[in-house]
Point group: C2
Chain length 283, copies 2
């Protein structure tokens, strides 16, 4: 029986977590299809994973579902063991790879989110923290062409999806990453020469113009606890409101110009809006 | 050459993260010694891991250092492959084990910390979340004696160290875990019949009486950003102050009885003390 492989990606093609899985599958030359949870027979599997795993990406392999991008990448590496190993075979090198992938997972995402959701001192702190992170990662790379040594490995797969967001970070934070960390940019460009990477990453301008605002809306929805709100109508209205807020802020309009009557549909959210509006005017 | 293995444990014998490593090493029948970072030749290794890995436990194996409890447990499993495998061999089962260990890492610790640092509505919410977590974990256990099936596995090693904190959670939260989740307690007692577990876990009363207050002081130090403060004297004074605060709160004295002159040694911390004093009166 041929393998049935499908990926339920995240809502945005540029999401670093979904891109990790796409690169890993491409490296292993595994053919797969994109799946929506409502399509095919995956809904039962997804239901089973809920309420534990609420996040995408999710990989479906035959009758099984695997969650969490780094766990999926390790699964892909072990399930298709023969082709292009991602993790090294030595236990210590494996532990080091896991350590750095975790570091990227825990640090890079949290810090970079601050670059597009804060301003002033907090933004300056986030930029400083980000550069520090990158310098540590430059140190770990050393003189190797890839984190995996002579070839793309687990840490490369974990890290390189963030590269297509660098342009957005630079625009939001008004700084130049290459000036501070030239080795990281050289490494990223090297990775981009591989089809598995270049075909999986989104266009940086598209990330900044479309996906960043959309991600920001999702971020606000989660922060305001609207994502799981039982009233579907409220969800729809606040989603619409947030899109307007983010779009107007991105276009440089002041808070006064925002459609506040729509934004303030719920009392609970009112306080949040004000703070969010102040914080989000990086756009 | 015989293996040189040493463990730099956390500051408290009952810390779930250090206990994981102790159980894994005991299951593998690996002899090791405890190491302080100042002893032997590990200081150079530690310096190398800094500033990336600031946390303990750290495992030293010959000339190498491995950080992060779950990564260490996987390392121990792979480095001593022959004895008592902790992770299953099937890639999907391995992915599931990693998923649940991560779930425990991310959810259980965060939620249970709220049980001993909050009160009122927030505490009630944390208790509810904790029970929900345990019920999901009961579901995953199913009818198996261990998460590893017929024998102790990776998820058991990740989860059972929290068991010696259950008494402290119950005292702080005034609730009964066994009443809500009898299967988890039965599983934990089954694990405790193994010497690798019973010899690694701390006495629950000692955890509540000694380690919880001490952990709370560390938690406050980190929250007040004193841990890394360059002025060693300030660190010492605030540590002393926090010990008094926590001890007095634990003994049921009111905030007014605290040694406020000592507590308010720095202006920066003043606002924090007030909030912490209110929040911490679970003790």
């Amino acid at each position: 029986m041929a393998d049935e492989v499908a990926l339920a990606p995240e809502h945005f093609a540029g999401s670093p977590f979904g891109v990790r899985v796409r690169i890993a599958l491409a490296e292993k030359r595994v053919k797969y299809e994109y799946s929506d949870e409502n399509s095919r027979d995956y809904s039962a599997l997804l239901l089973e994973m809920n309420p534990v795993c609420k996040k995408r990406p999710i990989l479906f392999h035959n009758e099984k579902a695997v969650c969490d991008s780094l766990i999926i990448v390790q699964y892909v590496d072990e399930a298709w063991m023969g082709n292009a190993p991602l993790l090294p075979s030595d236990p210590y090198q494996r532990a080091q790879s896991r350590f750095w992938a975790d570091f990227i997972d825990k640090k890079v995402y949290e810090i970079t989110r601050k670059i597009w959701t804060t301003k002033g001192e907090e933004l300056e702190g986030a930029k400083k923290d980000f550069i520090e992170c990158l310098k540590l990662l430059e140190g770990e790379l050393g003189d190797k062409p890839y984190y995996g040594g002579e070839k793309l490995g687990y840490v490369d797969v974990a890290f390189v999806p963030f590269y297509c967001w660098f342009y957005a970070y630079e625009k939001c934070g008004n700084f130049n990453i290459e000036k501070e960390c030239p080795k990281i940019i050289a490494w990223a460009k090297r990775c981009m020469q591989k089809e598995s990477v270049s075909k999986s990453l989104e266009d940086p301008k598209k990330v900044y113009d479309e996906q960043l605002p959309a991600t920001f809306v999702l971020f606000l929805q989660a922060a305001f606890m609207i994502t799981d709100h039982p009233a579907k109508e409220l969800q729809a209205v606040t989603h619409q409101a947030l899109c307007i807020l983010v779009k107007e802020l991105k276009n440089g309009q002041t808070n006064e110009n925002c459609n506040w009557s729509l934004l303030c549909t719920t009392r609970q959210c009112q306080a949040f809006w004000a703070e969010a509006a102040v914080k989000s005017n990086n756009f």
